[in-house]
Amino acid sequence: MKTPTDRTSPLSPATLHILLALAGGDLHGYGIIQEVARYSEGRYKLGPGTLYDNLKKMMDGGLVVDAPPSAEAGEERRFYRLTADGGSALAEEVDRLERVVEEARLRLQARRPEGV
């Protein structure tokens, strides 16, 4: 039985961004694109093809599922929801990135000339 980490780590940038966007709540496809553009301040732009290509993989892997339709908005669009496995995969990826950043900082400090 594969764990979420076995299936996904290290996550591709697109997968990481989609999981991050869905960590804030259920979103439809275009909502994910807008949310990623918002918190990355426009530096990371997802196209529809990339979005659904990754969403399909994530749904097949059990990281994301279809959310029940939103009754209040009367939306016909499909919403997507992060699963517990998806949350675990995101948390583990964040831990991995933290270790990378920590290691990078140590090495950069070691390279820094004295007195700078």
Binding site: G29, Y30, G47, P48, G49, T50, D53, K56, R77
Partner: protein, 174 residues
């Protein structure tokens, strides 16, 4: 048809080329997002993204691909990675070529930024000459910048000749 309309047709064609299960699940949403992106002037980028997605979807599942191709007699059984990659590469090129054909449109205009050979003008209102008299001789019609000598009958009283897609100024040549 405007450029945006051509891109939309091309994008729909790309979506239709995706595997059936993917298309049925996400196709309409992809077109919806494409429309939203078009409204923000990002149609070209979304189109390119669709082509990349198509290639990814079509080249995923190498075993399935080879099994299907072998089933149609396109590949001998037991192929190794090299030939598989070649076939997949050929398949990808074929998809891109088909997408380029769609982008070219009926007159090959948008993709290669070509102008139509003959400027499109409103269809002429043909009128009946008051007097029709076949003269014989040669008609010189100016179509765009290319003069065309048209050996046909010329009818007195007709100063203009209607063509299917443009109206050429015609002068009689003795």
């Amino acid at each position: 048809m405007k450029t945006t309309g051509i891109l939309r047709v091309a994008y729909r064609a790309i979506v239709r080329c995706h595997p059936a299960d993917f298309r049925e699940r996400f196709g309409e949403e992809m077109v919806w997002i494409f429309d939203e992106e078009s409204g923000r002037g990002r149609a070209g980028r979304a189109l390119a993204d669709g082509v990349v997605s198509l290639v990814r979807q079509r080249t995923r599942g190498e075993e399935d691909f080879v099994a299907v191709a072998a089933g149609f007699g396109l590949l001998p059984a037991g192929l190794r990675t090299g030939p598989r990659r070649m076939v997949q590469g050929g398949f990808t090129v074929a998809i891109l070529f088909a997408a380029a054909l769609v982008l070219m449109g009926p007159r090959g205009g948008w993709w290669f930024n070509c102008q139509p050979a003959v400027p499109e003008r409103p269809k002429p209102a043909l009128y009946a000459p008051t007097r029709i008299e076949p003269l014989g001789g040669t008609l010189e019609a100016r179509a765009g910048v290319q003069p065309v000598r048209h050996p046909t009958l010329y009818y007195r009283g007709m100063e203009r000749v209607g063509w299917p897609c443009y109206q050429a100024a015609a002068t009689r040549v003795r």
